[in-house]
Structure formats: C-alpha cells, structure tokens
C-alpha cells in the first residue's frame, strides 16, 4: 500500500476548562490518502473542528501522533508544513482582512512563502482569481464589495496561492445560499482534479458529503464511530449513530424521502 499523505495515530486532545477535563478527541486514528477527499462529519461537540486545528498545528494533540508524508508533524510547524497544509474557513467575511484589498490578501500568502519572483506576484494574484472563476480586476476590491460566494472563492484562491497539497475545508459552504453552494462545490471538485489536491472536508451537511467525498469519517463526542467509502456509509452504514444522522437530514425529492424512511425504520429497529 502506498504511504498515506496524512495519518493520525491514537490522537487525543483534552481541554481543561473550569477545573473540568473535557476529552474533545478520544483516541482517534485514520489516514488520508493523497488525492482523496475525506469528509469528517459529526454534530457540534463531536470533535471535528478540534481535529482540524490539530492537523493545522493551531494547537498540539495531548497524546498520539500526526504524521505527514511519513514523518511526524512537530508541535511547532515549520514554513514548509504551514505552506502545504492550508485552511478554508466557514465564514470568509471573518477570515479575510476587511482592511486589505483582495489582491493584498493573496499577495501576502505569496510573500510569506516566497513564491515566484517579487515582480511577478501581482500578476500571479490575478491568475489565482481567474482560476477560481473571478475576474482579475477584483484585485483592487475590498472583501466588503464582494458577495458571500465571491468571498469564499477568494478564500479558496488564497489557500491555493502557495502550492498547498492538503486543504482543510471547515464547513466551506454552510454559510452560502444553495445556488451559490452548488457552484462553489463544483469549483472545489474541479480544483481537486486539476491540481491533484487532497481535501479534509469538515461538515455537518451529509447531503453535500454524499456528492463530494470519496470516504467519510463519522464522529460522535470525540470518538470515531465509523469510517468507510461514501457509498458504504450512505447505503449500508454500520453504526446506529450514522443511521440516526442520515435519517435526520431534511430532503427534497421523493426518492430521498423513501431512502430516509428506510433508515428511520432501521434506526428504530436498533433502539
């Protein structure tokens, strides 16, 4: 078997708040293969964001090991790792600096990581915008002058600016309207193919997961309860919590209603 791009081994994270110990992530192990899209799903408090933050190096794990391309990631990340693992957050309005033009935000990523010749970087920001389907002229605009979908495209462009390999997408489309969401998802799928990216897609929206992920990891209260290919998870889930989660999703077509009914019956049968 080829070496996974990212691998977590017996990772736990304990927080201490108000004299209490909270085990946000509890003994979790999984791999992410190069070029795949792994969805991490769960409800609030399941530990999915904590996992993202540990992978990004925002804080270290309490115990366990996170390795990238076969070598353990240090608690304090060097520039190479910060470049290769990038983040796209849920709300682009708060992840983009409102005082900076779009061009300056993108340029900063290029400057920090010393990508390309200095003189060519401004042109490069224009190319990046075009890659995410925005006109290069948006360079001079501020985030406030863009719509939610356009802003999220800029956030994606920034994550791609420094030749990243693994992109952690934390609820990237949850704040968007459904028509905009569909277009941004399409963009993410296209970019993954054209650039050979690997995605860790964190979300609570199972209908999005169904259509974009190769594999799905289901979390409940810090524990990994089930992991498998998207087809297996949605057609023959093993864990009762997974079934409960699928049965709770509000759906729009008659086919989906039928599917859900089946899961509800199975979920009830297992109580």
């Amino acid at each position: 078997m080829t070496q996974p791009l990212l691998s977590l081994r017996s990772v736990s994270k304990t927080f201490h708040t108000g004299g209490r110990e909270v085990k946000a992530v509890d003994n979790v192990s999984f791999d992410v293969a190069e070029g795949e899209c792994l969805a991490v799903v769960g409800e609030s408090g399941s530990g999915k964001s904590t996992i993202a933050n540990m992978i990004l190096g925002i804080y270290p794990q309490t115990i366990g090991e996170i390795s990238y391309k076969g070598s353990a990631l240090p608690a304090r990340r060097d520039l190479v790792h910060r470049r290769s693992i990038q983040l796209v957050q849920q709300n682009p309005l708060s992840s983009l600096n409102p005082r900076r033009t779009i061009g300056a935000s993108l340029r900063l990523a290029l400057d920090v990581h010393g990508i390309g010749e200095r003189a060519g970087r401004n042109d490069r920001t224009g190319q990046l915008l075009e890659e995410v389907g925005l006109p290069a002229s948006f360079r001079t605009r501020s985030p406030a002058a863009l719509s939610g979908g356009q802003r999220q495209r800029v956030a994606i462009a920034r994550a791609l600016a420094c030749q990243s390999e693994l992109v952690v997408l934390d609820e990237p489309t949850s704040a968007l309207d459904v028509l905009v969401q569909a277009r941004v998802l399409r963009l993410l799928a296209d970019l993954r193919k054209s650039r050979g990216l690997t995605y860790l897609f964190i979300t609570h929206d199972l209908s999005v997961v169904r259509n974009i992920a190769d594999r799905v990891a289901v979390f409940e209260r810090g524990k990994l309860v089930e992991i498998g290919t998207t087809a297996t998870i949605f057609e023959a889930p093993n864990h009762p919590y997974t079934r409960k989660l699928i049965a709770a999703v509000p759906v729009v077509t008659a086919d989906e209603v039928a599917l859900r009914k089946r899961f509800m019956e199975e979920a009830n049968a297992n109580v």
């Binding site: 028509l179 569909a182 399409r186 209908s207 169904r210 259509n211 509000p250 759906v251």
Partner: protein, 296 residues
C-alpha cells in the same frame, strides 16, 4: 367563510437613502388560512425576513421604510391600527421564533422570569405562582422532562435544542393565532433540528395556530409546510402545495433552486448556470392555490 389569519396583497417595500429608494419587495401577495402552515422560501436578500417584520409591525416604525399594500391580520388592516394596537398584538395574537434560540433569550434572567414576562403580555395581573404553574405545563408539553430545573436555569446553562424548545413553549403560551418562525432550527444540529421540527408541528396543531415559516432550507420546508411560496428578489416566483411544488416545480427559479440541492441519493454536484432573466418570469400559481378574492 371567515377571514384568513393573514392576508397580504401587493405588498411593496422600499428603503429610502440619500441616493434614492432601494426597492426590496415588488408587490407580493400571500395568505395563510386558519391552522395552515405556509412557508416562504428564498435565498438571502430575497425579502422573506422583511415580510415577517412587516407582519409583526416592526418595520412600520422605521422612517426610511416606505411600505404600501395591504397586510390584514384576522381581518384587520394593520396600517389602520395605531402603533400601540400593533404592539398589543405582538406576543399575544402573533408571536415569533427566531433562528438562534440562545441569543433570543436574555442571558441575565432565569427562564422563569422570562416566561412570566411572556404570560404578562396577555394577562398583566397574572400571579407569579400561577405563571410558574402554566410555564411548567407548557415546558412539559414540549417534551422537557424536568421543567422545574429548566425554569430555574439561565439560557446559557441549557443546550441549543433545549433553548429552542423553551422558545417554542413561550411563543405558543398565549395561544397566538399566528406563529412566525424565521429559520427555526438552522442553528441546531440535524438530529436536534429534526426533533424540534416534529415538536413544533405537534404543538401548532394542538394550539390550532397558523404558521408563517420562513426558510432557505428546502428540505426543512418540505418536511414542515402544507403550502409554499417561493420568493425571488422581492417577487413571488411560484406558489402551490408542498408536494406538487417539490415534485414538479414549474417556475425556472424554483427548478434551479431544487436542482442545486445536493441529493442524499448521490447524483454528483449539480451543474448550475448563472442567474438567468427567466428567474423573473411571472408567478406560477398551481391550480386552486391562488390568492382568495375578498374585499380589500
């Protein structure tokens, strides 16, 4: 036939600013019969929340808002009521549930105090003991196992789902004839959201309340509403019964909207073309689901 609970005819809204008037609603009409659950679905900026605010009488006091058209609540024209009369309707004959339950409850007062205030809206002389008893019963009705403990809690001590149930209980405590629910449960986890919707459905049936359900989440609408109005940029695009509208959408905008929703059955990410002029096509009204005629 008695008057519908809510009747809106040709409602227009514009916001005045230094550069002219910015039109938000371009003449929308809708009605909600007694005990009906009607959804108003649209994207952000479509005008669904301002419609709710007009029904509640909250925008009428804003000087920059230019409102025309008819809004009739239980046969009474809201425009002909005084501000005090409109205020008296809020929290008694009509009530509202917001998206985020935790921020719509006051964090510095216990639930019991806030519930008492709600009951005082309808009966200013209600005794604390009586209001506590009624609150306990109302909370028990929304499947809260331990109403006494919840009443003695502050909102931040309760989970989001619990707060949402408290909101539902409060909203229905004074037996309103109209409940306006603006994206209820969108801030909650899916399993909690599903429970909340079930509970809300059960409760409005028991209290015979009509519901104006405002949402951008098509799945939730399909689950909850009897009838649907789809709103696009301040215009009604399509109106009809829930099942027919979802299974056989006829307006280009409704079709695009439904196509854009990722399917749990998995058909890949939908291809969406750019916004088209056809979204502004005239309202499609499903047979027998038009606006009732009546004296304006």
């Amino acid at each position: 036939m008695s008057a519908p609970t809510l009747r809106i005819r040709d409602l227009r809204l514009g916001f005045k600013s230094w550069s002219g008037t910015f039109d938000v609603l371009h003449g929308i009409s809708l009605h909600i019969g007694k005990g009906e659950r009607v959804a108003l679905v649209g994207e952000s900026g479509s005008g669904k929340s301002v419609t709710a605010r007009i029904v509640l009488g909250l925008l009428q006091t804003l000087r920059s808002a230019k409102i025309s058209g008819l809004v009739e609540f239980e046969g009474r024209d809201l425009a002909k009521l005084s501000e005090a009369e409109r205020r008296a309707l809020r929290g008694t004959r009509m009530s509202m549930i917001f998206q985020d339950p935790t921020s719509s409850l006051n964090p510095v007062y216990r639930i019991s105090t806030q519930f008492h205030e709600v009951l005082q809206r309808a009966n200013p002389r209600i005794e604390p003991a009586e209001s506590r008893a009624r609150a306990e019963k109302a909370l028990a009705d929304v499947s809260i196992a331990d109403p006494a403990r919840v009443l003695d809690s502050y909102p931040f001590q309760l989970s989001g789902g619990m707060n949402q149930r408290v909101m539902i209980a409060m909203a229905l405590a004074n037996e309103p004839s109209l409940l306006i629910a603006d994206e209820p449960g969108t801030a909650l986890d899916v399993t909690v959201q599903a429970q909340t919707l079930r509970l809300m459905r059960e409760q409005v049936e028991r209290h015979h309340a009509s519901v104006l359900f405002i949402s951008h989440n098509l799945g939730v609408v399909r689950e909850f509403a009897d009838r649907v109005y789809v709103i696009y940029k301040g215009r009604i695009a399509e109106q009809g019964p829930t099942a027919a509208l979802f299974d056989n959408p006829r307006h280009p905008y409704t079709q695009a909207l439904l196509r854009a929703v990722p399917r749990m059955t998995g058909d890949g990410i939908p291809e969406i073309e750019d916004a088209s002029e056809s979204y502004f096509a005239p309202t499609v009204i499903h047979d027998g689901y038009g606006e009732p005629e009546g004296v304006a």
